[in-house]
Symmetry: C2
Subunit: 277 residues, 2 copies
């Protein structure tokens, strides 16, 4: 494994949802004060704010706005639901443009009332519909495959192979994939599929956290890097072997950590980042 | 989809753990009284009993003992743990022989302290070690791939492709696979891989239940068939297209149903079986 050790925070990005109890202003000030260089903004963090001014505030703190999280949720057995999703994704593209980020992460969606095959067709159609707006705004769309335990409602795209297949089928420089170790670590095809999107120049984002044993909640029990069993260093080595030079994005949903003092949690993230990435 | 409707209970098997509050004697009497023809025995249900006599009791009730559940859990970073697993699997083979069943289901195991690749090698070695005893006892070993959400501690074999790969590598008429819709429904390769084990004559068991939305517990929140989003009929059609003529085994772990009256639950299982399989 050929891996450069992490010596600074120049490639560390944190998702606002990771420190959910903080407002985006608190998060940004604290991230910047600790030397974090990137931020991925969840849309709920922008609620009630002037998005353009918020983007300026982040840049003044020397934070790169890595992406807006999240678009997607295209499938729906009912046409009205699918149309609402298209509208919401167009709104997300506007928000990303105002914020001044160049990427939107797509959690593609699924509807348990229909087959996964139907959901996948609707995802492909949905992305096709919004592609012209994304291109006009200069925003890349990153398809994030989600863990198979989310195949009922959150994503019918559950492996990197599927995300790569869809990216190749859409065949646009504005579409790529996000690799999140939490969703993909178990997959025996992961190294091969990371190479594949690397070759295609479609590896757009790299998300990290850890899988705890035991994990007691399907959604909000993610671990800090080093706390679980994901071979993060190995996966980072595969990602970087493709030439990926983007941020390492820390995305942790945790009822446990959200209850703790967020400053202490941030320090824990930073020290774990240096040690376990 | 070419699928014969279910018209009777001649192929219905229930796992003792499905009605966990019942003793094996209660379960067997109730299953038989309702016309259920098969039972899969979980080892804990045999605790403190004469296993041979228990087997006779089940046969007198005209129940086919489909399998003993479960062997496996081969991996361990420590050698002592791996040796203990081998010993326990040999004990399981003895128990299966005494009980008079011809199959053991293997939940293969994983150890979060080591890589999935190491766990997989130890699983292969472990099965190799116990194969002579299985063959001597006339017991088939069914490798059950488990959902990727169990890759940390329960199984490093998470897709049917992996189980088929391992079965082919072991190359013994005493080793095959168990297909459980709960673990595998999300996998876009499922139809192809069911065909593959069908062709190899290694499809040994078919387990059913459903995936609820939302699922609130990683282990004990399975649904009755029809209650969730798994395309059970479609998967049964793939399984039967291979020529599989074994039992449809209902395996439900549910804190909710275990709290209910088990007779009512059994009636619910039977009516759902007729409707949704």
């Amino acid at each position: 494994m050929n891996l450069k050790p992490i010596t600074d925070l120049s490639k560390l990005c944190i998702h606002t949802i990771t420190t959910k109890p903080w407002t985006i202003e608190e998060a940004a000030r604290n991230y910047a004060a600790h030397g974090v260089k990137g931020i991925t903004v969840w849309r709920d963090a922008l609620s009630g704010r002037n998005i353009k001014q918020t983007g300026e505030m982040l840049r003044q703190l020397d934070l790169t706005i890595v992406s807006l999280c999240r678009g997607g949720f295209f499938p729906g057995k009912e046409k009205t639901k699918r149309q609402a999703a298209i509208d919401d994704n167009r709104k997300a593209i506007e928000e990303a443009f105002e914020l001044g980020t160049k990427m939107i992460v797509l959690v593609c969606g699924a509807d348990p009332a229909q087959s996964l095959e139907d959901s996948r067709m609707q995802i492909k159609d949905g992305i096709s519909f919004i592609l012209p707006e994304a291109e006009a705004a200069g925003i890349k769309l990153a398809i994030e495959p989600l863990h198979p335990m989310y195949a009922d409602t959150r994503s019918a795209i559950n492996t990197l192979a599927q995300a790569n297949d869809m990216t190749e089928a859409l065949n646009s420089q504005w579409v790529g994939v996000a690799v999140d170790v939490y969703h993909l670590w178990w997959d025996p095809q992961l190294e091969k599929e990371i190479k594949r999107c690397g070759k295609n120049n479609t590896l757009l984002a790299f998300h990290v956290c850890d899988w705890k044993s035991p994990t007691v909640d399907l959604l909000n029990d993610r671990g800090i890097m080093g706390e679980g069993c994901i071979p993060i260093k190995k996966i980072r080595s595969w990602v970087e072997a493709t030439g990926f030079n983007g941020f390492n994005e820390v995305e942790i949903f945790s009822d446990i950590y959200w209850k703790q003092d967020q400053s202490a949690f941030l320090k824990n993230i930073i020290s774990s980042y240096k040690k376990y990435l």
